[in-house]
Symmetry: D2
Subunit: 242 residues, 4 copies
């Protein structure tokens, strides 16, 4: 998926149609034959730079109806579970598909992401978003993960659900030996209850973490952490089937 960036830094998703902007339009044929780094001109002569979108570029511009998990939390999750190319992952719930795209980008064509979403409207948006980005290794299932999980031998089960403890047993069956369950939850009460259930179900290497990310501001006047920061997003709770 390509995006076009004008001189002011504004970004536009380039779909399968002509691109119409307040600075004029660019024909779809031109966009399709361009490559990353090219400069295209609108019929009014304004320049737009072509960029092959990465997941973060795309997620920023795609249709989002619900809050998404920040890269910092997805990155921590990936690093502590050794997520990599070729792995098979289950995700629930899909939401708008942002974490799904993140997962799909890492596991690649030799891996697969199975993403469960209960709400039909979300599942549709997510499916559109994921296909729009061009990922062919993701299956969105409009299905209750509490009821049935069809997959086996998974490397990772990633739960972004209000009550992840309800899915612990299912998840264990679906994981391979050595695989991870990870849940993302905003409240400490959820961490507490989930940890109790993970212990009961003999998960090992239990760990709950939160990542506080500080951005550093480098200006001529001096260097300092930014005044504003995200105080909290969610906790990540890990268990391993060993």
């Amino acid at each position: 998926m390509k995006i076009l960036i004008n001189k002011r830094g504004k970004k536009f998703l380039a779909g399968s149609e002509d691109l119409h902007t307040d600075q004029g339009y660019i024909k779809k044929e031109e966009i399709q034959s361009s490559i990353s780094g090219d400069v295209l001109k609108t019929h009014l002569g304004h320049e737009f730079r072509v960029l092959e979108a990465n997941p973060n570029d795309y997620i920023e511009l795609m249709d989002r109806r619900c809050s998404i998990i920040l890269p910092k939390d997805l990155g921590i999750m990936a690093a502590y579970t050794c997520l990599g190319s070729g792995q098979r992952v289950l995700e629930a719930g899909t939401g708008a598909g942002a974490a799904t795209i993140f997962l799909g980008n890492i596991v690649g064509d030799t891996g697969h992401v199975y993403s469960y979403e209960l709400r039909e409207d979300f599942a549709k948006i997510a499916d559109k978003n994921i296909k729009g980005f061009g990922l062919g290794n993701v299956t969105v299932k409009c299905q209750d993960v509490n009821e049935e999980v069809d997959e086996k031998d998974l490397d990772l089960v990633f739960l972004d659900l209000p009550k992840p403890w309800e899915v612990v047993e299912h998840s264990k069956d679906a994981l391979k030996f050595g695989g991870y369950l990870v849940a993302y939850t905003p409240y400490i009460d959820q961490v507490k209850l989930l940890t109790r259930i993970l212990k009961k179900r003999d998960f090992s290497d239990l760990k709950s973490i939160e990542c506080i990310m500080r951005e550093i501001e480098v200006k001529d006047r001096g260097v300092r952490p930014k005044t504003r920061m995200q105080g909290h997003t969610g906790y990540l709770t890990f268990g391993r089937k060993v």
Copy 2:
């Protein structure tokens, strides 16, 4: 690469030889024919569980002569650069190869990691570690990254060097349009100088962050962040070639 875990949780790397432990030995043939999840017995009857090692398991046990970058920082780096399957990455310096294995695990067989290390002793250890883990998509080069970079069209240049600003121009040439340079540095002074050079070389989307990770302790007595935590590891500075 397999690891064997005894009942006390102690882990052993299973190489190509018989495994000798204080609880007896296990023959290499037995280890080789086992699969993840199997239970093997030493000649003294002690049970060891077989586990297919993931990068973190392996890095914990491999030969390390220098400090390594923590998963939290590698994860953040991966997430903000959209590192994924099939990408081509340059790393400098290799050190013991921990970050290299992390990168290699994500980019997979369709991607490649080129890792530059000046010191011959480190390059040798790293190469042994990386091969030991079974990665075939990594090239360790005992070469000064300041002098020459042979690669082109890279998705990511990751610098774990004391003076990353010296490599900014080289790195820009080696990156594809849309690719990222990331440097990991412990000191804020390094962040400041690097940022100035990145600006001068027209990198965009400049960002410097640090990730403070807190572990949560869930006990029967109550829930609280752990008393001890890592106060600081390093800053990650990002620039994008756009």
Copy 3:
């Protein structure tokens, strides 16, 4: 100084005049004869609760033209210098007088705060604010602290200036043996330079800290740190004359 709080929680400073609000007025005689906890009624029958203002109540409502130091930073400063009743303190610069009031409240009638402010407009506002709160132990001096410090044998010199290193020598002369110099600075570059000068001038127990304060949200749905937090205010750098 009294404040009046209406049923919606809105607070009003009660000066020496009648209080006029959108819910009617209250006569000054009534306010003056009231005590903390009393309920007064406006001529329209709306109830206002009388509260003897503490420094934070007052600072919230007083005339402020410049940014103030947060209680978290003032508290840390006080705790690490053992600020207490009866001490003599020099402050520079005064600003709107918020830190001055904090200091004056702690040192009490047997102590004294000498506060230097270069800008006449700030010195006037500060003086009005401090007198308005009723502190009799503060002297605001519209004077350049770089030029001359008249006081001796001080317990604490607190510097809220862009270039605190210029005042280090003066400050040392003005401190008693065992006394502290503390500077509040937003930039890490200032911390670096100041620390170098403090070392040169033989200050001991050098320490630079920042306090990250997280507020916890306790709701029926669960407990979590607040989503938004102050990412950075300033660093506190301490030196002791020993």
Copy 4:
């Protein structure tokens, strides 16, 4: 209370006896007639500098049998309750008396600290510590604060108890209008329960915070936060009687 510091920076509490050290002894008469800043010599000729101890100097050297609350948390507590000279404070439990000395130092001779401690052994140590420091404005009571509180019209009730919620009603009776209850608790579960009870008892301005303090290391090689830091001490929960 004086302390003596040798050239290596080691500190000694100077009691009412001769001071014996591994570098020789100093006569009590000499110590008593010295003032802060003087240099005394042992009979072996080693120099010791005299320093009038502040609360932190003293607490570092006094008899401590239980963990103490760090200055960072005491400072935050003081700043958000506007603790100052002349105030009357109740504390429970006393422990070794470190927080008591902090409070006593701020409220001064025109204020008073009433400190409740259930365990007789702690109460004795605390009393000795407090008297040793020379505070005359503290009353240690070996008494269960749950059973009876004799004081009225207090500015602050500070609870360092495992179950602070049991004392909320008592505390409210003992506080003046506008006064604060503050509890220091390590677990988030305690914050949750206490907050519920404070709400029920109509405390207002409820707030729970934790203070993460980072120390900055300024070296010639560069500036960075220290590698090791205190991950968590405790939460401070505030309620106000308004």
